[in-house]
């Protein structure tokens, strides 16, 4: 059996024959062990698997693998089928179920895979818990494997066990834990609430040995709100990762495809602590991890790095820049002369559309609606006025006054959920509601990379709480809520996102075309099949 395995492996995996057999064998065994681990990782659908948690952290220590050779004989029957699924489907689909469909695999291997899958799901079901990045990966409908979704930890703050587990994990990754601030409204006790005045970087030692400096800078920019907005955060993240990849060197006896992924995990935890990851960032991270894992092991380091950098550039170019162009093209068809367009807050995409439409000599005027405490609409106003577009500016409480003048509403989105709900800046649902009452069409513009497999029906279960001190305001020299912390029965709530039901939205403009809100799961399915 051993020889058969080696023959199979050699014929599939090793095109270059310059190496000694014994050393190759050892490398092969080590690789198989890692493959096995990665398979288990995939089944857990996220970063660190429980098996890894039991072992020493892989990212920081040199490989402990030399002991693996002793376990080799027992490990051999299991990885027999491992080489088969790996080249076939994307590594992050957590079940080996697609592989029998893809390849004419041995039936024994298929059964083994099924059994392993069942074991993994049982193990996963027994240990409900958290993982680093708060984004769920939904498996495309595989009939063999029930999807076990684990709740992200950032919506389980009221569970002390989860919080302790997170603290332990962060300690292992040597990232400081950010503490909550202020009195939390009881309806939101399951979410974090941080203060902007206490950034995570204050707890780090400078220079940080664990976290790359560009990531530290990025985290600080996120937590202070310097980089805000879905697209901006994703692009900044990808650029920071490019820098990390440039500075990365593979440690000896490690493979780039595996080690780099492990290196990225503490960075992602750190960024998550600075500010919870957005859906777009989650998708970008998934893409990067997939690309890194797909690097063939025989690739030289420089080649691999340039390959990754071009992948990231292509991602930004395709998913963000070109998507914006495509969306503008579709949206401009919907803007006619004499239109009065209402926009809310600052959405880079909607701004782009309006500027392009103006350049194409469409005659329209814009009403910018803004809301406290972020007042992002002022930035949108500035940019539109700079282009020469005539604008009106109101606060969201004046919405009923201004809506009779409006002919269309253009809204941006933070994410589009699989049940058709639009997750966007808080206040968007209110605008959609009032616009629906006045029979004004509501158009949401969203790139496909922001589509998310999560489902949500209200704005409570998963949201972000911003610094409550932002709600304080000084008017005529008096700050009413100055000592709100001293009053025990007073709480301030600063929500960041809300979800808009699909019946308020008339059209969603994406880079794939103009679709109704309810077609989002169709797009997701199509995208997953492409991958």
């Amino acid at each position: 059996m051993y020889h058969r395995y080696v023959v199979v492996a050699l014929s599939r995996r090793k095109p270059n024959e310059g190496k000694e057999l014994t050393k190759e064998e050892k490398q092969r065994l080590r690789k198989q062990k890692k493959h096995q681990k990665k398979q288990k990782e995939r089944k857990n659908e996220k970063g660190p698997s429980e098996t890894e948690k039991d072992k020493t952290p892989v990212s920081l220590l040199p490989p402990p693998q030399p002991v693996a050779t002793q376990k080799a004989p027992s490990a051999l029957p299991a990885p027999a089928s491992a080489p088969i699924p790996v080249p076939a489907s994307a590594p992050f689909h957590s079940s080996p179920a697609p592989s029998p469909a893809d390849k004419p695999a041995k039936s024994k291997a298929e059964l083994k895979a099924e059994r392993r899958a069942r074991q993994e799901t049982d193990r996963a079901a027994k240990q409900p818990g958290s993982s680093s990045s708060g984004i769920k990966t939904k498996v495309p409908l595989s009939e063999l494997n029930p999807v076990v979704k684990r709740l992200p930890e950032h919506v389980q703050v009221d569970d002390p066990a989860v919080v302790k587990r997170l603290a332990k994990k962060l300690e292992r990754q040597q990232i400081p834990l950010r503490s909550d601030y202020g009195y939390k409204v009881s309806l939101f006790s399951h979410l974090h609430q941080y203060s902007r005045k206490a950034p995570l970087t204050q707890l780090l030692s400078i220079p940080s040995t664990v976290i790359h400096p560009s990531i530290v800078r990025l985290g600080l920019q996120y937590s202070q709100g310097i980089v805000a907005g879905s697209n901006a955060r994703s692009v900044a993240l990808l650029h920071a990762f490019k820098q990390v990849i440039r500075d990365y060197t593979t440690p000896p006896n490690e493979e780039l495809s595996r080690d780099l992924v492990n290196k990225l995990k503490p960075y992602i935890s750190f960024l998550n602590q600075c500010r919870p990851l957005s859906a777009s960032m989650g998708n970008a991270i998934k893409y990067i991890k997939k690309e890194i894992s797909n690097i063939p092991s025989q690739c030289k380091e420089e080649e691999a790095k340039t390959k990754l950098l071009t992948c990231i550039d292509r991602y930004i170019e395709e998913k963000i820049v070109l998507a914006a162009k495509a969306i503008s093209k579709y949206a401009i068809e919907k803007i006619s002369d004499g239109d009065v367009i209402l926009v809310y807050g600052y959405s880079s995409l909607v701004n782009n559309i309006l500027c392009e439409a103006f350049e194409k000599s469409r005659k329209f005027r814009v009403i910018v609606v803004d809301s406290r405490p972020r007042l992002e609409g002022r930035e949108a106003l500035r940019r539109l006025v700079q282009r020469g577009i005539s604008c009106t500016y109101v606060l969201i409480s004046a919405l009923s006054y201004i809506l009779p003048e409006v002919s269309k509403v253009f809204l941006g989105a933070h994410a589009l959920l699989a049940n058709g709900y639009v997750m966007s800046r808080v206040g968007t649902s209110q605008i959609a509601l009032v616009a629906r009452t006045y029979n004004v069409p509501v158009l949401v513009c969203c790139e496909t990379y922001k589509f998310c497999e999560r489902v949500q029906t209200d704005s409570f279960v998963s949201n972000e709480l911003d610094d409550p001190d932002d709600l304080m305001v000084t008017r005529k020299g008096k700050t009413q809520l100055e000592n709100w912390q001293d009053v025990s029965s007073l709480g301030l709530l600063n929500l960041v996102y809300d979800v808009t039901p699909p019946d308020f939205v008339d059209l969603v403009i994406t880079d794939l075309g103009m679709i109704p809100c309810t077609s989002v799961p169709v797009v997701l399915r199509v995208k997953n099949l492409d991958q």
Partner: protein
């Protein structure tokens, strides 16, 4: 001459009142509550009745009507002034009718018979002189003042009928009536209040501090989050600036969004408004309906050059149609919005609707 002194004194007071009205409405003077406004108006009208020169009811009504026109012109958005003037006019009519001995019913009702036979019965009939008319009118105005003093308490007394324990109540901005209402209920029940801060004036902050001082669990939210949290709200209780003749409201801006969100979630919308806020105005008077204050509140002058290139609006009031309202709680009890027109006929005479 004492008469002349009284007259000049009276005109001085009237002028001072008018100046106050003009200043108070622009936001620069001290912000007065409607209750205070109503009381001041009634004091002034009582003084006019006492000190002005008049011989018959018709004269008095003419004087009061003139002054009333000037007062409403000074600040059209302050409707309680006009409402009090109309109440006093109705009081005069009633006292006159009582002095004459005829019952009030026949004066009021517009029957077909009356329309055919009456003709010009309106002003002529108020020319008779009655000795005790002045005293009666002043006494009736005093009764009106007592009623005004007790409105907030009357409304607050009904609180326990409408609030059960462990409720989540939403309110918008600041209303003294609603504050008293909630504080009264808090003596016996435990509930949670969510206050929408109501930018740009952020009066919700004051409301929240007031409520939390008596131990009510209060949360302040931004206006943008109203729809987001509405799904967890059991009742929306708000105050208003004016109740219009069709049962709609003229309330602080942002109230329409709250009403729509409440209707979407089928949450009852309860208005706590004393009767002196009921105005015979209808909402289609566009020029007097909306009131704007300085856009500095919305986009401050520190924003710089951009201010010359954009239009900035800061409306103060919102119209809420009567279909979105569930209940009016006033000092005379709870009413549906469809009943408001009936209450109006009890408070004001139809001929006084246009001053």
């Amino acid at each position: 001459m004492p008469g002349a002194d009284k007259e000049t004194d009276l005109t001085e007071r009237i002028e001072a009142f008018l100046a106050d009205l003009k200043r108070g409405g622009s936001g620069t003077g001290p912000l007065r509550g409607s209750g205070e406004m109503a009381r001041e108006t009634t004091y002034l009208l009582r003084r006019i009745t006492a000190q002005a020169r008049w011989s018959s009811a018709g004269d008095l009504m003419e004087i009061i009507r003139n002054e009333g026109r000037r007062m409403t012109a000074a600040q059209p958005s302050e409707t309680t002034v006009g409402n009090m003037v109309r109440r006093v006019l109705k009081i005069i009519r009633e006292e006159y009718a009582r002095s004459r001995g005829s019952s009030e019913e026949t004066e009021q009702q517009e029957s077909l018979h009356k329309l055919l036979t009456a003709g010009e019965l309106s002003e002529e009939t108020f020319r008779e002189h009655f000795v005790h008319l002045k005293a009666n009118v002043i006494e009736a105005i005093n009764e009106l003042l007592t009623e005004l003093d007790g409105t907030t308490d009357n409304i607050a007394m009904q609180a326990l009928e409408h609030i059960h324990s462990n409720e989540v109540i939403m309110t918008v901005g600041r209303s003294r009536t609603v504050e008293a209402f909630l504080k009264d209920a808090a003596r016996k029940r435990k509930f949670h209040v969510i206050v929408a801060e109501c930018a740009p004036f952020c009066q919700g902050h004051e409301m929240a501090t007031g409520l939390s001082k008596v131990g009510i669990e209060t949360t302040v939210i931004a206006d943008a989050a109203i729809f987001a949290v509405m799904s967890r709200v059991n009742k929306v209780i708000i105050g208003t600036q004016t109740v219009l003749a069709n049962g709609g409201l003229r309330a602080v801006n942002g109230t329409h969004s709250v009403a729509l969100a409440a209707r979407h979630h089928s949450t009852p919308l309860i208005i706590c408004a004393p009767m002196f806020k009921l105005s015979p105005q209808f909402p289609n008077e566009e020029d007097t309906f909306h009131k704007f204050v300085s856009p500095h509140e919305v986009l401050p002058f520190t924003a710089g050059e951009i201010l010359s290139k954009v239009n900035v609006h800061c409306p103060v009031f919102d119209y809420v149609p009567p279909e979105l309202i569930t209940l009016f709680i006033s000092n005379i009890g709870g009413n549906a919005p469809s009943y408001i027109y009936r209450l109006m006929s009890e408070l004001y005479h139809p001929e006084d609707h246009k001053l």
